[in-house]
C-alpha cells in the first residue's frame, strides 16, 4: 500500500523532495546572523522514554513511531510525579515531532502549523487540543486521544459495500463542513487522517498541512514543491493554491473512488510531472471498474473529482445532503460515462493545462465559498397552509434563492404519523399519501424552479414522516447542515392554539437562521393596540 502513514513532506512518497535543494540550504547561516534565537532542536532534548515526565505529562506508552512524529499515551502528573488528572479531560496523547539533525524544514514547519491551528479548532470533529511544548526545549502537542484505528486499514478491504461507502462519505463530509466553517482547509484528507468517535462521528486529525484563513500561512513560502499526499492532492493544490475548501472535497472524492473500485483514480505519483497529469487525464469511471456501482454514486464521485473547483460540490454540506438522499441526485453525463475521455479531449485539456496557473486573485476564500453556497430549506405545509401563505412563502423563498446563485434549495414537508403503530404507513395507503405530498411539494416549487432555472441538483424534495413536525424539521436541518430555514406561520387560528406553533418551536430549537413568513391579512385587527415605548418606560 502506498498510503503508509507519513507525516508531512512536500509531495507524498517523494523521497526526492527533501533532497531537491528546494529548502534553501543557506538557511543555517542566515539563522545564525540573527543571534541567540535560532532553535536548538532535536539535538538538545534527550530522547524520550517511557516513564519520562515532560511539562507535567507522564509518558506511559509509545503508541506509534512514524517517520516524522511519534505518539505517546500520556497522563497528567504533579510536581512530585503523582497522578493529577483534570476533571472532565479525555484520555490524552502526545505527538512529538521527530526532528533529524535539527533543520528539517518539512517537519519543523508542519509542526509549527499544527501548533498554530489546533488551538483554534473546536467541536466534535477535531481532537480536543490540550497543550503544546516550547519548541526550544521539547516540542510536542498534547491532545485528546481518539481511540481506535484510522480509516486506512479499510483501504485493503476495498471495494467496500455501497452502504458503507455512502456512510463514510456522509460522515467525512459532515466533519469537513464543520472544519470549513471554522475557516480551516485541511489539505491532507486521506484515510490515515480520519478516525471515528464511538457515536460514529468522523474526526479529522493531523493539521500539519492545513491552512487557516485568518492565520498566517507558514507553509506558503516554505516550499517550491506542491504540498499534500500524492494520490489525494487536488489539481489546485498541485498549482500551489492553499485556501480552497473544495480541495478537501476532491480528496474525499479520491477516497470514495478508492473504496468503491479498489483502485486509485490517479495512481500514486511521486513527481510533480506525475501530479500534474490529473489536470488533463480523467479517471476511469467507477462503473467501468465495478458493475454494481450505481450511476448516482459515480455522479457524486466524479463531481468531487472535477478539475475545476467550480464544477465540484461547492460545500461538504451539499455533498452530504446528496449522499443522504441518493434518489434525489440529478444524474448528468458524468453518471453515464463508461470510459475515459477520448485522446482528443485529453490532448485539448493537456494543451490548456500547459503552464496553466490558476487565477490566484479570483480564488475565493473559504468563507466566501461557504457563504455563497448555502443550503436553504423551505418547510412547506402543502396540505394545510392557506393558498395565500403558500404563495407568500414561495415568493420569499424565490427572492432568497435569487440573491444566492450558489445556494441549494431543499423543499421539505412533514407527513404526520402516529407516535406508535407507524406500520400503517408502510401499506399501500401510506405510500400513496407520501407520493401525494411529494407531488404537492413539487407543484408548489415549480414556479421557483422555472423562474430561477435551478439546474444540476440544486433543488431537492423531501417528505419526512414523523409524529412531531417541529422536531422533524429541526432534525432535518441539523443533519443536513441547513443554513437557513424558511417556513410559514400558521397565523392566528384555532388550529395553532390547539396544536401549538410549529414555527416558534423551530425558531427556538434550530441552530441556523429561520425566516417565518406570514400571508398578509388585510382584515386582521390586533387584539390590543400596541403601546409605543417611550424613554420614560425604560426608567420607571
Amino acid at each position: 500500500m502506498n498510503d503508509r502513514p507519513r507525516a508531512k513532506a512536500p509531495v507524498a512518497q517523494s523521497g526526492t523532495a527533501r533532497s531537491s535543494g528546494a529548502f534553501d540550504s543557506g538557511a543555517g547561516s542566515r539563522m545564525k546572523r540573527s543571534g541567540e534565537w535560532k532553535y536548538d532542536i532535536g539535538g538538545m532534548a534527550p530522547p524520550l522514554e517511557r516513564g519520562a515526565i515532560v511539562d507535567g505529562f507522564l509518558l506511559e506508552k509509545r503508541l506509534h513511531q512514524g517517520g516524522m512524529a511519534s505518539m505517546w499515551r500520556v497522563s497528567r502528573v504533579d510536581a512530585e510525579g503523582k497522578p493529577a488528572p483534570v476533571e472532565g479531560e479525555p484520555p490524552l496523547i502526545m505527538k512529538v515531532p521527530r526532528i533529524k539533525g535539527g533543520e528539517d524544514p518539512a517537519t519543523i514547519v508542519g509542526y509549527e502549523v499544527e501548533q498554530m491551528i489546533m488551538p483554534a479548532l473546536t467541536g466534535h470533529h477535531v481532537p480536543r487540543y490540550i497543550a503544546r511544548g516550547d519548541f526550544t526545549r521539547q516540542p510536542f502537542i498534547v491532545m485528546e486521544h481518539i481511540a481506535g484505528d484510522t480509516l486506512r486499514p479499510r483501504l485493503a478491504e476495498a471495494p467496500l459495500a455501497l452502504d458503507e461507502i455512502t456512510e463514510i462519505g456522509i460522515k467525512v463530509a459532515n466533519a469537513l463542513h464543520d472544519l470549513h466553517r471554522q475557516h480551516v482547509v485541511h489539505l491532507d484528507v486521506k484515510p490515515s487522517n480520519i478516525m471515528f468517535r464511538p457515536d460514529g462521528a468522523a474526526v479529522l486529525v493531523d493539521y500539519g498541512l492545513s491552512r487557516h484563513e485568518h492565520l498566517p500561512d507558514l507553509l506558503e513560502e516554505e516550499f517550491s514543491l506542491p504540498m499534500g499526499t500524492g494520490p489525494y492532492m487536488s489539481p489546485e493544490q498541485v498549482q500551489f493554491i492553499r485556501n480552497d475548501p473544495r480541495s478537501d472535497l476532491f480528496a474525499l472524492g479520491v477516497m470514495l473512488y478508492h473504496f468503491t473500485t479498489g483502485e486509485r483514480p490517479f495512481g500514486a505519483p511521486t513527481s510533480v510531472r506525475g501530479l500534474r497529469k490529473r489536470l488533463w487525464i480523467d479517471p476511469v469511471p467507477p462503473r467501468a471498474l465495478r458493475k454494481d456501482c450505481p450511476p448516482w454514486l459515480q455522479e457524486v464521485i466524479l463531481k468531487c473529482l472535477e478539475v475545476q473547483p467550480d464544477k465540484r460540490y461547492q460545500t461538504a454540506a451539499q455533498l452530504a445532503l446528496d449522499l443522504q438522499q441518493p434518489d434525489q441526485i440529478v444524474l448528468t453525463r458524468r453518471a453515464e460515462r463508461m470510459a475515459r475521455s477520448s485522446q482528443w479531449t485529453r490532448l485539448k485539456r493537456w494543451f490548456f493545462a500547459l503552464g496553466a496557473e490558476p487565477a490566484e486573485a479570483a480564488a475565493p476564500s473559504a468563507t466566501e465559498v461557504l457563504n455563497r453556497s448555502n443550503i436553504i430549506m423551505a418547510a412547506v405545509d402543502v396540505d394545510n397552509a392557506s393558498p395565500e401563505l403558500l404563495e407568500q412563502l414561495r415568493e420569499t423563498v424565490r427572492r432568497i434563492v435569487l440573491t444566492e446563485p450558489g445556494a441549494r434549495l431543499a423543499c421539505v414537508s412533514v407527513m404526520r404519523i402516529a407516535r406508535i403503530g407507524t406500520d400503517a404507513l408502510t401499506d399501500h395507503t401510506g405510500k400513496s399519501l407520501h407520493v401525494k405530498q411529494l407531488v404537492g411539494l413539487k407543484h408548489w416549487a415549480r414556479p421557483i424552479s422555472k423562474s430561477l432555472n435551478l439546474e444540476d441538483g440544486r433543488l431537492t424534495f423531501h417528505v419526512l414522516e414523523a409524529p412531531d413536525p417541529a422536531d422533524a424539521l429541526v432534525d432535518f436541518a441539523r443533519r443536513n447542515q441547513v443554513d437557513h430555514i424558511v417556513m410559514g406561520a400558521r397565523g392566528v387560528s384555532a388550529l395553532r392554539r390547539y396544536l401549538g406553533s410549529v414555527s416558534s418551536t423551530v425558531v427556538a430549537e434550530s441552530l441556523c437562521t429561520v425566516t417565518v413568513v406570514r400571508a398578509s391579512a388585510p382584515d386582521a385587527v390586533p387584539a390590543e393596540p400596541v403601546k409605543q415605548a417611550t424613554p420614560s418606560d425604560g426608567i420607571s
Partner: protein
C-alpha cells in the same frame, strides 16, 4: 497576564485616540506602547502629546516618529508647502514642555524580547518604510528580538521569518488572536490609529500578549466626522479632513 496595547501614528486625532484608549482599557490592557507620530495631520496635537506624556510617566513606552521630529525641528524650505504649513501650525499649538517631551523621545526602545521603533530596526532615524518582505527581513535581521513593533506604514501588516530563512507576510483579520510562537521572528505593524489608510476608517491598534505569545489586531470605529470638522475649523488642508471618512 500582561496585555500590551500598541498604538502608533496617532497623528493628533483626539477622537480616534480616545476611542482606542477606551477599547484597549475594556480589553484589559496592562501596559502601553506608542510607536510615534503623535502629531501632524490632525487638529489636537497638544491633547495627544499630553495624554502620551502622562502615560509615559506611568511607565508606557514611547518612541519618536518623523512627524514628532519635524515638529521639534520646525519646517524646512525643502518641504512641500502643504507639509510646511501643517508643521508650522502644529508647532504653534505645542508649548515648550510638550516640545521638550517630543525632543527627548528615543528612536527605539527594547524591553525584554520586544523592540519598539517607529519606522524600522535597520536605520530607526532614517524613516525608511517597511513596504514588503525584503524590507521586513532587513529589519528583522537588524535585531535579536523575536518581536518588533513598528509604525510609519499606516496599513496593518504582519511579517515573519522562520528558522529556515523563509519570510512570509500576512494581512491580519481584525479581532482574531494570532499566535506568534517565539521560535520565529515577527514584525508587527498595527496600522495607524489617527489616519487609517486601508480603506477602512476605523482606528487601528494591536494588543500583544507576550505570555500567551499572541497578537490581536483591533479596529475601533470613532467619530471621524468631528475629527474632520476640527481639521477644517483649524484651517488645515481639506484633504487631511476628507480622507478620514474614507480611511485613505
Amino acid at each position: 497576564m500582561t496585555k500590551i496595547a500598541v498604538v502608533t501614528d496617532l497623528h493628533a486625532n483626539r477622537e480616534a485616540v480616545e476611542a482606542v484608549f477606551a477599547h484597549a482599557r475594556a480589553q484589559g490592557a496592562t501596559e502601553w506602547a506608542f510607536l510615534g507620530d503623535f502629531v501632524g495631520y490632525g487638529a489636537d496635537p497638544a491633547w495627544v502629546v499630553d495624554q502620551v506624556r502622562e502615560m509615559v510617566e506611568a511607565g508606557a513606552v514611547a518612541v519618536c516618529g518623523n512627524h514628532d521630529e519635524a515638529a521639534v525641528i520646525g519646517s524646512t524650505p525643502q518641504m512641500r508647502p502643504e507639509a510646511r504649513m501643517v508643521i508650522d501650525w502644529t508647532r504653534a499649538q505645542l508649548d515648550p514642555g510638550q516640545l521638550d517631551f517630543l525632543a527627548a523621545l528615543p528612536f527605539q526602545v527594547q524591553r525584554d524580547d520586544v523592540l519598539y521603533v517607529h519606522a524600522n530596526a535597520f536605520a530607526p532615524s532614517q524613516w525608511e518604510y517597511v513596504q514588503g518582505r525584503a524590507d521586513a527581513v532587513r529589519s528583522i535581521h537588524a535585531t535579536s528580538c523575536h518581536y518588533t513593533f513598528c509604525g510609519h506604514v499606516h496599513e496593518p501588516r504582519l511579517y515573519h521569518l522562520g528558522a529556515t530563512g523563509k519570510a512570509g507576510d500576512f494581512s491580519p483579520t481584525p479581532e482574531v488572536a494570532i499566535p506568534l510562537p517565539g521560535y520565529r521572528q515577527w514584525l508587527v505593524i498595527p496600522g495607524s490609529a489617527g489616519q487609517p489608510r486601508d480603506g477602512n476608517p476605523a482606528a487601528c491598534y494591536a494588543m500583544f500578549e507576550p505570555d500567551a505569545q499572541r497578537i490581536t489586531y483591533h479596529r475601533v470605529p470613532y467619530d471621524h466626522e468631528s475629527a474632520a470638522a476640527k481639521i477644517r475649523a483649524a484651517g488645515l488642508p481639506e484633504r487631511l479632513a476628507a480622507r478620514l471618512a474614507e480611511g485613505v
